[in-house]
Structures are given as C-alpha cells and as structure tokens.
C-alpha cells in the first residue's frame, strides 16, 4: 500500500511540521424552526504544508459543514458557529472581522465543490470567473486577468485553453468543468485547498484524471489538501492521513495505511467491511445496520452505539465505559492513532493495557 509521496518530496517550502491550519474544538449548529441541529460537535484537526488529509464520512456526518465553517461561507442564519477556533497561520479566523476573513479566501484557503455545473455561474464565461480571482484580490485589469485565466486553464490541462477561455460553463464536459473549478481555486496559490467531494459527480475514468491533477498541483505548490469524501478508494489513493467523522464528531484518526488496514473504531471497521473486495468475490458484503443518526437528536453516550455490533450495555460494560451513557473521548489508542471508542483496543485486536 505504499505509494510515492510526491507532495512532500517536491514541495518548494519543506514541511516544517508546524500546522498551517488548526481547527480546534469546532462546534456548528443549525437553528431551524423545528429545532437545533448539531452538525459539528467538537471537531479538531490540523494540516501541515503539503499534507493531504482526508475527511471521511457519510452524508450528514458534518464533513462539509466543518469545511464551510473554515471557509466562512456557512449560511448564517440558520448556521451558527457556537464554539471553537479556526487557526490559520497563527490567527484565529473566527475572531477576525468579515473583511479579513474574506481576504483569506482565495489566496489563503480555497475550495472546490462537488457539482461544478451548479457551482459555476452559468451566465459568465469561465475565463471571466477564473480572472475574477485576480481582479478581486490583486486589482488586476480585465485584460491581464483574462491572460492569467488562459495560463491557469493550460495548467489544469484544459485543451485549447486560449480558444475556450470565453466559453460558458455549460459548453464544457463534467471533467473539464471540474478543472475550471480547480483552476479558479488554485489561481492565487492558496496554502490550503479544500476539495469537497471533487469527483463524486464524475465518471470513474475522469475521477482518476481529476485526482491525478490535484496530486500534481499539490506537488508543484506544496499546498495542504483537505479532501472531503465518502469514497474509500480515493482516500486510499491520495491521502496521507484520514479523519473519520460520524454524527458531527471525529471518531477515528490516523494515517491512511493504519486506519484502512486495522481500524480502531467499530464504525470505521464497518465501513471497511462494506467495501467490495476482489479477493472475496461471491461473498456477501456486511453493511452497517441501521440509519445515520438524526442530528437534532443525537443518541446519548457514544453516538454510534445504536448501530454498533460491539456495544456493551449495562452490566456487560466496564465501569465508566457504558456505551449508551458514557461519551467516549477521542483518545490515543496506539501511537499515531486516535479513536473515540471505549473498546478500541478490542477492535484493533491488541490487548487492553
């Protein structure tokens, strides 16, 4: 499972280990008429130069919401950031005035979205939309911005960039549109790129091309990449580290190799067992039973316990580790691996200390 780690080897600024981004105990709620939805409940993670962090989780696990909180583009109301900090290069973005936050978007942190067709404005040419980055942040003239847009379209390998710069989003194929999104996002050489399910809407061959492009761009620029996805294959392919989210919390974190080969949380374990394996052809997949939790009413104790095959209730449980009442903290299980389960050691198959 080893792969050449281009990003770190060729990054112009070598990773010094100091994180570029630190998300600290982030809480986000949606206050709706029908109640409060707890979308993100105390998420912390950090990202260093050139690192690729995959955030893995099913729909409604809070992975996109936490990313939008970092970008400062949550729809508010109804979304409210109720606690925590988002530290980017030493400053907490949440304490900054809106104007300062705005200046970070683009040159500091940038984001690409799942559906490039709806995420690009249908009434402006792609060149105009890419060029806007230079005009808004660098005060460049329309003509120069257009020139830079062509360069960027070349860089994301859009054929005949100079001819297509004035075309509109609907005139491009899905893969090319996602490249336009990427060109726009990397226009100002951001320190961090957040990719929110960048390949979900694309067909498989195009998916691979887009991921390759992202990897190459990361290798050239040394930017940190946060990859939000529910595609285990993509994570395995490109990420260094992975954080698995469930019910608005990170339930397991570690390097991709470790987490994928020996999960320490029953949810991750369940995810891995639900992936078809070529070797196990003909066998039955093991789905995770039940439904994702309603975020307006998150189960007590461990949010995963109603669906967990390893849960221990009542007398079965060790003292202070009753799954339906005691909330398991995210804790170091073995070096380099954190999980939020009372019984991670068992899941891992190592003897509890």
């Amino acid at each position: 499972m080893t792969r050449p780690d281009l990003s770190k080897a060729t990054a112009p600024v070598p990773a010094d280990g100091r994180p570029v981004l630190e998300v600290d105990d982030l809480h986000v709620e949606f206050r709706t008429r029908s109640g409060v939805v707890h979308a993100v409940n105390g998420v912390s993670y950090s990202l260093t130069q050139g690192e690729t962090l995959a955030i893995l989780g099913e729909s409604g696990s809070g992975k996109s919401v936490s990313a939008q909180a970092i970008m400062g583009i949550l729809d508010s109301p109804p979304a409210v950031i109720t606690g925590g900090g988002i530290w980017f290069e030493g400053t907490d973005l949440l304490t900054q005035p809106e104007e300062e936050q705005r200046k970070v978007r683009g040159p500091g942190i940038s984001m690409i979205f799942q559906d490039a067709l709806s995420s690009l404005n249908p009434v402006y040419s792609v060149g105009f939309q890419i060029g806007e980055m230079f005009r808004a942040h660098r005060g460049m003239s329309k003509k120069d911005a257009r020139k830079r847009a062509i360069e960027l379209m070349d860089r994301v390998r859009i054929p005949a960039a100079a001819r297509r710069v004035d075309d509109f989003p609907h005139q491009f194929s899905g893969g090319m549109r996602q490249r336009v999104m990427i060109a726009m996002a990397i226009a100002l050489d951001p320190r961090i790129l957040i990719a929110d399910e960048p390949t979900t809407a694309l067909d498989v061959t195009v998916q691979a091309q887009v991921m390759d492009l992202l990897k190459d761009l990361q290798a050239e620029t040394g930017m940190g990449l946060i990859l939000i996805t529910h595609d285990l294959g993509v994570v395995n392919e490109v990420a260094d580290n992975v954080a698995v989210m469930y019910a608005g919390e990170i339930v397991e974190r570690g390097t991709v190799d470790d987490v994928f080969t020996r999960p320490a949380h029953p949810y991750t374990d369940g995810l891995m067992s639900s992936v078809p394996q070529v070797e196990a052809k003909g066998g039955r997949l093991q789905p995770i039973v039940g439904q994702p939790p309603n975020l307006a009413r998150i189960p007590s104790g461990c949010p995963f316990h109603p669906r967990c095959s390893r849960r221990r209730l009542g007398a079965e449980a060790a003292p202070g580790r009753e799954c339906s009442t005691d909330v398991p903290p995210l804790r170091l299980v073995v070096p380099g691996r954190e999980a939020a389960c009372h019984y991670s050691e068992e899941v891992l198959g190592v003897r509890a200390q």
Partner: protein
C-alpha cells in the same frame, strides 16, 4: 439572432391583421348609431345622415368595411373621424404624451422596484423584507383610482410638490402621474425581484463566489442579481405594453391628453377608425416589447440561444 428577430417581426403582421379585424368587429357590434349621435340635441337632416353613412362606408357589411379600411391603410391613410380629423394627427398628438408617461412609470418601477427587491431579498425576513412585503401589499390592494386622487390631493394640493393637472411643466408634469401609474407594478417588481434574489442567494454558484473571497457587493450585484433578473425583465416588458394602453384612469385624473383617453372617447363615440388605428398600434407595441424581452433573455443568460 438576426434571422430570429426578422422572423418574429414578420410574425407580427398576421397578429396585427387579426387584432385589427377583431377590434373593427367589436366597434361595429356596438349598439347605437354614431352618425345620429353626432348631431347631439339638434338631429341631422336625413340627407346629411345618408351622405355621411355613404362617406364612411357605414352601409357596407362588416367585411367590406374592413377591406376598404385596409386598402386605405396600405396607402398610408388611417382615415378620419366623423368630424373629418385625420386619425394620424390624433395619434401623433396623443402618443408622445402616453409614451412620456409610460417611460416615467417604467423607470420608477424598474429602479425602485429592483432596488427594494434586492434589499429585501438579501436579508430574507429582515426589517426591509417585511417593510417591502407590507407596503407592496397595501399598494397592490388599493385601486389605482383611489391612489390617483389621494396622490393628487396630498402630494399635489396639500404639499404642492407636483403639478396636479395637464402637461405644461414638461417631464415634471409626468412625475406624479407616472408614480401613480407605476405603483401597482412597482410593488409587483419588488416582490418578484425579492423572491428571485432570495432563491439565487442560496445557489451553489453564489456560495462559490463567496468562497472566492469576492467582496459582498460583487457577490450580490454580479453573481446574484443578473441571474435573478429574467422573471423581472419578462414582467417589465409585458408591462410596458399594458401601461401604454391602460392609462385611462391616470390620464383622466391628471388631465393628460394621451391615447388612453382618446380610446375611451372614441369608443363612446363609436369612432371605428380612431379606435382601430390606436389599438392596433398598441398591439404592435405589445408584440414588439415582448420581442425585446426575448432578445434580452439571450443577453442575460448565454445558455439561451436563438437561431
């Protein structure tokens, strides 16, 4: 695009023919005898009546009358009214008044309506949104006649800000009537813009615009408003036609000699030639502005192509 416009313009010919015939038939079907009414208290002598009936082809069947009218029309002759006044003169005298009134009204409803709609739409359920909601509901529910008299009395007489009657003060005379005429549409434009903007504010590409770190002004004006204008432009385009023909009440209250009143007077006097001439012209404007709207669609949204 050029071919599309040409085709649409050609299509207006059958529309105008049909419309003019219908109007002709309707005037023909009106009860009463226009010639006999000409005399007023002193009845005309039977010889004069017979001569006038002959002169204006009133003894012919409907279709023959219409064909004779068309024959004259092709030679550029719109005919005369029963007093011998050229219909063309009436139109060229009345139309500028109505056009000015319409221009003022459209400007007011477009500018104020869109600004109010945007302000309401970007802060849904905020103070401005509720203000627009309440005030537009009031304006829409008050009949234009009431609005006209109240406007004339309060703004014209009590405060003395505007002239109350006539067109002797140039464009300024049109301001108050234009405001009254625009009021209903203004409320509608504001509501339409508000809904469209509020919906587009949640669009994915607006989220992208914010993620790009664009200033709020740019996000709203460039990435939200333009995409929100299509329904508004549709309404305003159709409204130009409506306002031009439907200003009878406003023109009467403010004593403006426009086509609205000319139509009203001519219908009462059964002046077929005048009614048909003016109304057909208004139908043409209506069709024309609808074409302008369709062309504007393609300008606003490049996904729309005509060929």
């Amino acid at each position: 695009m050029g071919r599309y416009v040409a085709r649409r313009l050609l299509l207006t010919i059958p529309v105008l023919l049909g419309a003019s015939f219908l109007i002709f038939a309707m005037v023909y079907a009106l009860p009463g005898d226009p010639i006999r009414a000409l005399g007023g208290d002193r009845p005309l002598s039977p010889a004069v009546v017979a001569q006038l009936r002959e002169e204006f082809n009133l003894n012919d069947p409907l279709v023959v009358q219409y064909v004779k009218y068309l024959g004259d029309l092709i030679q550029g002759d719109l005919g005369t009214d029963f007093r011998g006044r050229e219909v063309l003169d009436t139109i060229s005298q009345r139309l500028p008044v109505t056009i000015k009134l319409t221009v003022v009204a459209i400007l007011i409803e477009t500018v104020i309506g869109i600004v109010a709609g945007v302000l309401a739409g970007i802060r849904r359920n905020g103070f401005l949104d509720n203000l627009v909601l309440v005030s537009s509901t009031i304006v829409v529910s008050v009949p234009i006649l009431v609005l006209a008299f109240v406007g004339q009395y309060v703004l014209g007489l009590q405060f003395g800000w505007f002239p109350v009657s006539g067109i002797n003060e140039g464009w300024y005379s049109y301001l108050l009537p234009g405001l009254v005429l625009a009021a209903g549409s203004l409320a509608y434009v504001a509501r339409l813009t508000r809904t469209s903007v509020a919906e587009n504010m949640r669009a994915d590409y607006v989220r992208t615009a914010r993620a790009k770190g664009l200033p709020r002004r740019t996000v709203i004006l460039r990435h939200t408003l333009r995409n929100s204008l299509i329904p508004v432009v549709t309404f305003i385009g159709a409204d130009i036609g409506t306002l031009m023909g439907g200003a009878i009440v406003t023109e009467s209250v403010f004593n403006l000699p426009g086509v609205g009143r000319a139509i009203f007077d001519s219908v009462r006097a059964q002046e077929g030639a005048v009614v048909v001439g003016i109304v057909t012209l208004l139908v043409f404007f209506f069709v024309f502005f609808n074409l302008v709207v369709d062309v504007l669609y393609a300008v606003l949204d490049p996904r729309i192509r005509y060929d």
